[in-house]
Subunit: 413 residues, 2 copies
Amino acid sequence: MKTYPSRRSSINIGIIGLGTVGLAVARNLKAVAGIRIKKGCDIRNIRFPFPVSRNPYDVINDPAISIVVEAIGGVNPAKKLVLAALKNGKHVVTSNKELIALHMSELLAAAKKSGVRLLFEGAVGGGIPILNTLRDELSGNRIDEVYGIVNGTTNYILSKMTAEGMEFSEALKKAKEKGFAEANPKSDIEGYDASYKAAIMASVAFGARVKWQDVYREGIEKIASEDIAYAADIGYVVKLMAIAKLAGGRLDVRVHPALVAKTHPLANVSENFNAIYVKGFPVGELMFYGPGAGGNPTSSAVINDILAIANAECLMPNAELRNYKIRKIDEIESRYYIRLQVPDRYGVLAGISKAFASKKVSVAAVTQKETVGNLATIIILLHGIKEKSLKSALSSIRKLPVVHRICNVIRIM
Amino acid sequence: MKTYPSRRSSINIGIIGLGTVGLAVARNLKAVAGIRIKKGCDIRNIRFPFPVSRNPYDVINDPAISIVVEAIGGVNPAKKLVLAALKNGKHVVTSNKELIALHMSELLAAAKKSGVRLLFEGAVGGGIPILNTLRDELSGNRIDEVYGIVNGTTNYILSKMTAEGMEFSEALKKAKEKGFAEANPKSDIEGYDASYKAAIMASVAFGARVKWQDVYREGIEKIASEDIAYAADIGYVVKLMAIAKLAGGRLDVRVHPALVAKTHPLANVSENFNAIYVKGFPVGELMFYGPGAGGNPTSSAVINDILAIANAECLMPNAELRNYKIRKIDEIESRYYIRLQVPDRYGVLAGISKAFASKKVSVAAVTQKETVGNLATIIILLHGIKEKSLKSALSSIRKLPVVHRICNVIRIM
């Protein structure tokens, strides 16, 4: 039931950056919505079916252009160019998560000042319409929690480690070969990319001014194939989760690996797909699943933002963001998986359990795994406790003579 | 980032029907959006925090009311009341899938004539914002296919049969006890409810005028616990699927049980949850998951429709629906699972395989299961063929002296 008001045809669109996303936007905007790009900007000498300049200001200063698509990525010079476009009274559409995560407040304020819109659906979840859905289609809800798998590279690596028993380094190599990881994978592997998206999700879900620096972040580089195998034994898979919760007026925004029950719909989100869970009232729990990156999926999000502006479906000006207190990682409560090595001898399990009990930490399950040399591996699952209490318990347990090494600690969703 | 224009407060809402959904709408509209119901209608003598009449026309004819929520369900008298409200210039919001599936064209025409809106997000997928997302958030896509699990009762029954090895009748009994099946479960079990939703999804996804009578329909009453067990052996679960495809200008809309690969995100949709897959270009594949029924989830959809009207976010009038040719079930192409019983003796498998081959039907896998008495169960998986060819092959195979009985045939997604 799509109808486009005729005013749409009078809207001229300029694109800065004609790489994977920019090119897909230009191509699909023509193919699906019948809209031609007025002017592009790219530094390469490639032929396009529309005029292309090497100077971005030829787009930004063109009085005929009313929507500027920023598709160059990164903060510099994207921020300067987006601010200039907004100041010039152009609506801006971008899928640049780093730019939005680091400078959302400043950019929204500039858009508001000029009476134009800044939309960035493609910055989280690629083709999944999660941000606009949170804002428009769930407006009758109080959103309590938004969490999910928002980085395709780490999900591909963890999926390979799970399905084929690969070690992290091997799976990373495979991801690079397949084009799912970049030559320098630091931003994905160490959770930076996911933390940008977590900050943006939190901002949109809660109308909150979230500083990206306040997002707690852990990557997947410490996850060993044993952790994945042991997690599987007890019915879990390991996923890199981006989490944003609002409880008691405090925001909890973080990115870290977590155990997810195999029966949870998030567990079947494999390879480079993304999925985002939303908990709200009165709706309950929703999940949105789809391709998290790539030219075509991201172009779907960008094109929809363009059409939303062209159709003036969104009458609301960019809303004010509010300040919330941030919950420190020590204050969060979670269940935990702990893998440790102990000498394989009588009474060790009892000693460890006692040590946890003395710290008032409640153990849900203990399993002894294989012994290598004279070292046995023990998997401990803890009931929900505050991270602060966990850390204090772990520091006394680490000192126990019967504990050889605490190999890994992973939160359980 | 929700802001409500001030005009919202001047909009008065009336509700006809104060059962589970109507009451949840009234309660949550106040709690979440701060909006009070102006007038309600219900035939019971219960106290409500707003005036309630026994006569629906007290709501429909109230000049102060601009949005009427229909929450009585069924076609009579809902259709008459909705038409009267639309004619009176009231916007109408409903979650009545039967009403919308059977009379969408007529009702949309009446809304258009009066210059008002008819919204029905709650009619499909309960709290999942699938219809508005298809219409608004994916407007930059060509939608090719929409399919999923849209009936909670049958999904609960199939989940129980899968998880606990129950027979259909036992699982149905359990569903009734739990309140997940009605006393007369015919509409759910035989696929009527899902076929209403399939017709609505197809209409919205493709802007198509879909007659509900054209939706092919099979229920789950023939699914045996053996089918579920054998499907599990080969990596599948059985789900009741609602499917709407547009290919080559022809619509294919149907409801039937199907085998879904365990690794598919739909496989983990259990109990009374719903999930809808969308395939489009350029976005690729998306899935939307959530609670498929219930007062609170459905009220989320109804309230969002109310706010969409109140906020005038949707400037578009109700769009025109188009006519498409409907693809008959004989013309669809699918993979198939076939369970049959044969005498347990030499050469039987070869004979059956040859019979399929002579009909140019390609067998993907054959497995012989346990023998009871002198009858062996054989599971056959076929590669993709037209349903017409399958039927013709089955009718010759049924006549083979070595075939005791064809127990079941289920399509594979």
